[in-house]
């Protein structure tokens, strides 16, 4: 049991570190974010900086680590990706624009697109010249994503007739600045839910696409809704066979799950620091044993997640497939973030009602996290879905009987489809 790299891993780590040293600034403290040092926080500037950095990465051979070299990637092993990630996490690096395309759309294109399409789309995706987004969820299809309703209709009987897309999607990151998107729609409502879906990639400038930001409960808008009104898509932009869209989508969802990390927000170190700062009944809060017991609990969770990830990296290093670590990480860390935010507020007592970073302890991050953490417990698999996954995939418990089993999609009970009309 030791934490040292193999010779090859150590060499790769040195190489990565050297490149990062030459191309990025080390963080001043572990929780420093790119956003916090960014002077011009406009979307345009963020997109510009991300594209620039990606271009440098690509020029030096550090783009798309997991992609094959022929498409502009580096062809890294899983453990090399982890090592690069460990090193990069110590630097301030522009993030958040190219990842969805490279992580989700790229692998799909590699598997389902024609050689010409790959040659056309993958290189500019790798360089960051062209940005891709993922357009999957619908208001009435969240956990039950395969229940989506956007219609894909053939415009005529020809085998290669265009498709017409009609419907509304939500929770799309980066729709505004993306050049292309991958999406999935229902091409046949008369067959079973999973059987009637077809997968496409689309040009985001196609007529009929309208994009609107979704305001979240925190007040900010990190996602969009994307409306499709009679959007024409050439059959050549179909990925996978007609009706096989669910199989195609599943592959991207697996990619998504692997990339989910610990929920952001004040972490153990920040609540520990707050407890050392604030007073409770005229004594430092850190002296209060109830506070200490909570801190012990969160430290155990935090260390447990970190050590679980190390065991996972260790398995990767041996060439094994990682286990359910990401489900555990998200399940535990999202609730932990919400609990820490709430407890931080309790520690601040009456002053916690204000959010002004200059007047409230902890720069207002506890208040911010309180408003952001509910989404963490939902996005990328709700607490409930994650528990199902752990129970069924790891513990091999039987799945629930399905009320929609064997039914044509159009016959599946939907209630009043509350999601579409508001509760």
């Amino acid at each position: 049991m030791d934490f040292s790299d193999t010779t090859e891993e150590a060499a790769f780590r040195m190489e990565a570190r050297a490149w990062l040293d030459a191309n990025a600034t080390p963080k001043a403290h572990p929780n420093q974010t790119w956003a916090s040092v960014l002077e011009d926080k406009t979307r345009d500037n963020i997109v510009r900086l991300c594209k620039e950095f990606q271009s440098r990465r690509h020029a030096d051979g550090w783009a798309c680590l997991h992609w094959p070299k022929e498409y502009g990637g580096r062809g890294c092993t899983a453990i090399e990706r982890v090592i690069y990630g460990q090193e990069e996490s110590r630097y301030i690096v522009p993030r958040g624009v190219v990842e969805i395309g490279q992580g989700m759309a790229g692998p799909i294109l590699m598997k389902y697109a024609t050689a010409d399409q790959k040659a056309r789309y993958l290189p500019p995706m790798a360089t960051g010249e062209e940005i891709w987004c993922q357009i999957f969820s619908e208001a009435s299809a969240g956990s039950d994503l395969a229940g989506l309703r956007m219609a894909a209709t053939k415009d005529g009987d020809a085998d290669d007739a265009d498709w017409i897309l009609d419907g509304e999607k939500i929770w799309t990151s980066g729709a505004h600045y993306s050049d292309f998107g991958i999406t999935i729609a229902r091409s046949d409502g008369a067959v079973a839910k999973h059987k009637g879906l077809t997968f496409f990639f689309i040009d985001m400038k196609s007529p009929g696409i309208s994009i609107a930001p979704i305001r979240q409960i925190s007040g900010s808008s990190h996602f969009n809704s994307v409306r499709f009104d009679n959007v024409r898509v050439p059959d050549a932009q179909r990925l996978g066979a007609v009706g096989e869209g669910w199989k195609v989508a599943l592959a991207t969802l697996m990619n998504e799950r692997v990339s989910v990390g610990e929920a952001p927000g004040p972490d153990f170190e920040q609540i520990f620091a707050l407890a050392q700062t604030v007073e409770l009944n005229d004594r430092p809060a850190i002296e209060n044993q109830m506070v200490r017991s909570k801190l012990a609990h969160w430290y155990c969770e935090t260390a447990g997640l970190k050590n679980t990830r190390m065991r996972s990296v260790s398995a990767l290093s041996r060439g094994e497939t990682p286990g359910p670590e990401n489900s555990i990480t998200k399940l535990v860390s999202a609730t932990k973030a919400q609990d820490i935010a709430r407890f931080g507020a309790d520690l601040m007592d009456q002053c916690a009602v204000i959010t002004d970073p200059d007047l409230v302890l902890g720069d207002g991050r506890f208040q911010q996290s309180y408003m952001q953490s509910p989404a963490m417990r939902i996005a990328g698999g709700t607490d409930e879905i994650l528990r199902n996954i752990i129970a069924e995939h790891v513990l091999k418990l039987p799945s629930e009987p399905r009320a929609d089993k064997g039914l044509a999609f159009s016959e599946i009970p939907t209630g009043n489809v509350a999601g579409e009309t508001g509760p």
Partner: protein
């Protein structure tokens, strides 16, 4: 045995609930969230007309002379109806403090216009990011001239009057200060629950009038907090039930995988737990209402018990309501976040559960022998 509100009190509840449903609720809260700080003014005047502000005020000062039970009923409905107005600060804290400690002349001068809604009043205790204890209050009164900085002050940017807690040799003293007079500067500060606005109020030699005897300020505050804890608990419990109702409605209506999500035990058991928490809080509130209305010796214990239970119940119901709504619950358009914000704002007003759990156990330790 009649451990329940009377038919007359239930009538008041019905009236309050329909009034608030028609004139308040999420639509009004949203106006305040969108920055329309004056949106609640009309509602406040209407509440005054309905006699709500003066519910607990004797008739001789323009009030209705009703007891604490009526205030409890109103508080529960204010919680359910997401009431944004400064009615909580006035009726739970400031007016009871005036009644308890004000001179006869002060009561005569201020209570009638307060009850009528012509004047509004708040209470200014906190001084920044520490819980309010004698060590943490530095605002001074010299020759009735007040100097210091108070924040957060609920509704402080719009209230006409404030009861300001000042430090002195002994136990602190309250002063009544007109906030629109010289020597007072106030600014809105961004709040987690903008439908309950907060302000920073700076006093620089502002004119104040002592309320109560010198040095009894902290003792008065403790007494008023016990009183207010019951009403806050009712408001929280009302909010918890409203969030629970919203969650149940959604769980019945929203389908996934071909059936209502409320039919899955993952959702169903969560809702059962929310109901249990809200019910225990309600029952503890009822007992505290009895203690409040009879000024029983049990009040400190009963108030802390109601407060602790109701804080937990509202926190739980408000956050799990979002969870049950899934992605939609995280959008601005769906009302879940209004309860979620309110839950937190009410949880720390008059002190968080870290403070109230301690008060509860201290009350238990000083119980008379036979009660144990």
């Amino acid at each position: 045995m009649n451990f329940d509100f009377s038919p007359e009190q239930e009538l008041l509840r019905d009236q309050a609930r329909s009034f608030l449903a028609a004139n308040c609720g999420a639509p009004l809260a949203r106006k305040l969230l969108d920055g329309n700080v004056a949106a609640g003014d009309d509602l406040y005047r209407q509440m005054a007309e309905l006699g709500w502000i003066g519910t607990g005020v004797p008739e001789e000062y323009g009030g209705f002379g009703a007891g604490g039970l009526e205030l409890c009923v109103l508080a529960e409905e204010l919680g359910r109806g997401l009431a944004p107005a400064p009615i909580a600060t006035a009726t739970y804290l400031a007016i009871p403090l005036l009644l308890l400690a004000g001179s006869e002349a002060q009561k005569r001068k201020y209570l009638t216009p307060l009850v009528g809604g012509e004047l509004t009043v708040t209470i200014a205790v906190n001084e920044g990011p520490r819980n309010a204890t004698p060590r943490n209050v530095a605002t001074m009164a010299e020759n009735n001239l007040i100097t210091g900085v108070k924040y957060p002050v609920a509704d402080g940017a719009r209230a006409d009057l404030a009861l300001v807690l000042c430090a002195d040799q002994g136990g602190g003293s309250f002063y009544l200060v007109a906030l629109n007079e010289p020597g007072v500067v106030r600014e809105d500060i961004p709040a987690q629950d903008p439908s309950r606005p907060q302000a920073k109020v700076s006093f620089d030699g502002a004119q104040g009038k002592a309320v109560g005897k010198p040095g009894e300020g902290w003792a008065l505050l403790a007494k008023i907090y016990d009183h207010a804890a019951v009403l806050y608990a009712f408001e929280q419990m009302g909010g918890a039930h409203a969030a629970l109702d919203q969650a149940c409605d959604y769980a019945r209506a929203r389908f996934a995988f071909g059936r209502a999500i409320g039919s899955y035990q993952g959702v169903k058991h969560k809702l059962a737990d929310m109901y249990v928490a809200a019910t225990l809080a309600k029952s503890n509130c009822y007992y505290a209402a009895w203690a409040l209305s009879t000024d029983a010796a049990e009040l400190p214990l009963a108030a802390a018990t109601a407060r602790v239970s109701a804080t937990k119940a509202f926190d739980m119901c408000a956050s799990e309501n979002i969870q049950i709504h899934g992605g939609m619950g995280c959008t601005w358009e769906v009302d879940c976040h209004l309860y979620y914000r309110r839950a937190r704002s009410l949880a720390v007003n008059i002190g968080s559960n870290l403070v109230w759990e301690e008060k509860l156990v201290r009350a238990l330790e000083t119980r008379p022998e036979e009660a144990a």
